[in-house]
Amino acid sequence: MSTPFAAAVLSSSVLSGTSLLYATLGELVGERAGIVNLGLEGIMLIGAAAGFAATSFAGNPYLGIAAAALAGMAGNLLLGYVVIGRGANQLAAGLALLFFGFGASTLIGRPFMGAIVTGLPRLALSELGAFDLLVWLALPAALLLWCLIFRTRWGLALRAVGEDPAVAFAAGRRPGQLQYQALALGGLLGGIGGAHLSLALAMTWDEGMTAGRGFIAIALVIFAKWNPLWAVAGALVFGAAEALQLQLQARGAYVSPFLMTMIPYLLTLTILVFWGWSRRSAAPAALGRNFFGVE
């Protein structure tokens, strides 16, 4: 009755990596527009709490996903107002959003702690296994995002804003509006990433349950060179790092859980070292800089 090791690790990695992938895609869209969102962890938490609360309230996990997406979007739009509308420093604003997310998610989730919800049902849509809807939609979401960024006019404008907003502005685009749109989409994806944790993986809400996944996602964006397709590979690798140690333990091979928990972060550091080696960075040139407009 026991599943073969490779299949078990793969399915665990996919489950673990899905929330990472959504969060990475969300951060990626924002960064392509030139805005770094360090508060991604907060957005994921808000999404997880809102999703869990809505599911507990309404009894429908899909409504929960919708609520999580909207809550994440609201959070990111808040960041957008602070950064685009008021010109605040992006890093500081992102960190403020992080703490805000911690607090807001605790506030939303507190009355629902301990509630038993029907999580997302697992659908066996192919012979690869039975996963919930968000897992099945993860890869299509990445592909869609790739098309959106690299094959549409909107995507071109988005990338232009991320590279040099002054040029985009001169070409007739509105950088501020595009950045807002990117953040809205990013928040939507980030919220869904959080919801996957509370509605599919753990089926419960606990304070701070993302346990640093938001920061791993931010690192993953760099790992993926701001390309959604590479983000899929990265999310799978990072998901595997977490899943592997638990599966190995279940098999009887002893690996220190504390050592294995370090691995995603060690990977991140390694990536940053290697990716920083080449002079030509793949980052959007105007990443982190605010565009104050041409008066």
Partner: protein, 355 residues
């Protein structure tokens, strides 16, 4: 006497009368490391305090949930003392040092810490001796398993937890010599996503009875229930609400009697600090009601094992070898309660390395 003096005298008398009523009350402060809605450790603490409040008239209970195991705990307990608390329950292992610091600063306040070892004139320690109590849980699991693989999700691999796993394995193998226990350590007392993944990993390896020692059994039990395997609960007997189909039995802390006795002793002024460790049958641990899946014969075996432990049977009696074959306890040797924190080896039948 003038009317004015009469009124002043009456006012003073009323004022003097107040303390007589106030002496009957005791303000008790309690800090929890998590939420009391966890169907687990914190819920059991809350239930105990509620029982204490109902048993002793005039108690005012101040509570704080989600108190981290950092200096913040000290500040929160200090706040409770400012509000008049004379008895503080620091319910999580990591609150120990902070409670101890405050005990030195406030010699008139009594502190009771759960799960540690420090003691002072106004600082006592209490916990249940859980290890032997896992033996009857193992009996239940050993009888109910069909795949002969049992899964145990452990939080932090300290000696006490390894002891729990060992007793569980010994109990299982006493009724089913082919049973094996697989252990997955998550590394944290409360990481819900990891607990879910750990439970899934164990079920992937064929475990059809899952149990755990983490702060909240909720996630592991829910995963087990969603995958159609049996579960055995821990921390709070209320956890059976989570698994209507797969629940076998469970252990729960019943802190009520101890907390009531402590409160009464503080009110009477007769508090004596002690390192209290009670096992099954001494009041701090209870066995949960059986689930519907458990047949009569198995219930009988489990209850017999409970009785055996309550009467003093120590499963850690030699001859006993660990899972590499090395002899750990010779004929006639036994490990007492004080050695439960020293475990760094698994008994035969447990798959994994303890260190």
């Amino acid at each position: 006497m003038t009317r004015r003096r009469l009124l002043i005298l009456a006012g003073l008398l009323l004022f003097a009368a107040e303390p007589a009523r106030a002496e009957a009350t005791l303000t008790v402060g309690a800090i929890y490391v998590g939420s009391v809605n966890d169907y687990g450790y914190n819920r059991a603490m809350k239930d105990g305090l509620t029982a204490m409040k109902e048993a002793v008239p005039g108690i005012t209970l101040l509570e704080a949930e989600n108190v981290p195991e950092t200096a913040e705990a000290e500040r929160i307990m200090e706040g409770m003392i400012q509000q008049g608390a004379k008895l503080i329950f620091a319910t999580s292992f990591g609150h120990q040092q902070f409670a101890f610091n405050l005990a030195k600063k406030h010699p008139d306040v009594v502190f009771e810490h759960a799960g540690g070892w420090m003691q002072a004139a106004n600082f006592g320690n209490f916990f249940a001796a859980t290890q032997a109590a896992w033996y009857p849980m193992g009996v239940a699991a050993g009888k109910m398993t069909k795949s002969n693989t049992l899964g145990f999700v452990a939080g932090v691999p300290i000696g006490f937890i390894i002891g729990d796993v060992n007793a569980f394995a010994l109990g299982a193998r006493s009724v089913n010599p082919k049973a094996e226990v697989r252990v997955v350590v998550t590394g944290s007392w409360a990481d819900k996503a990891k607990e879910a993944e750990a439970a899934n990993a164990l079920i992937d390896q064929g475990a059809d009875v899952i149990t755990m020692h983490v702060d909240s059994p909720a996630t592991v039990i829910q995963v087990a229930e969603s995958r159609g395997v049996y579960s055995i609960g821990f921390q709070s007997i209320e956890a059976r609400a989570l698994a209507p189909k797969g629940w076998l039995t469970g252990l729960g802390f019943t802190w009520g009697p101890f907390m009531t006795a402590t409160a009464k002793s503080v009110i009477a002024g007769s508090f004596k600090p002690a390192m209290v460790r009670q096992g099954l049958g001494e009041g701090m641990l209870a066995v949960a009601p059986f689930g519907n899946a458990v047949p009569e014969e198995t219930r009988g075996l489990v209850l017999a094992a409970v009785d055996k432990i309550a009467k003093g049977y120590n499963p850690f009696t030699g001859p006993l070898s660990d899972n590499t074959g090395a002899v750990r306890l010779k004929e006639g040797e036994a490990l007492g309660n004080d050695k439960m924190g020293d475990f760094d080896w698994y008994v035969a039948g447990v798959i994994g390395k303890a260190k």
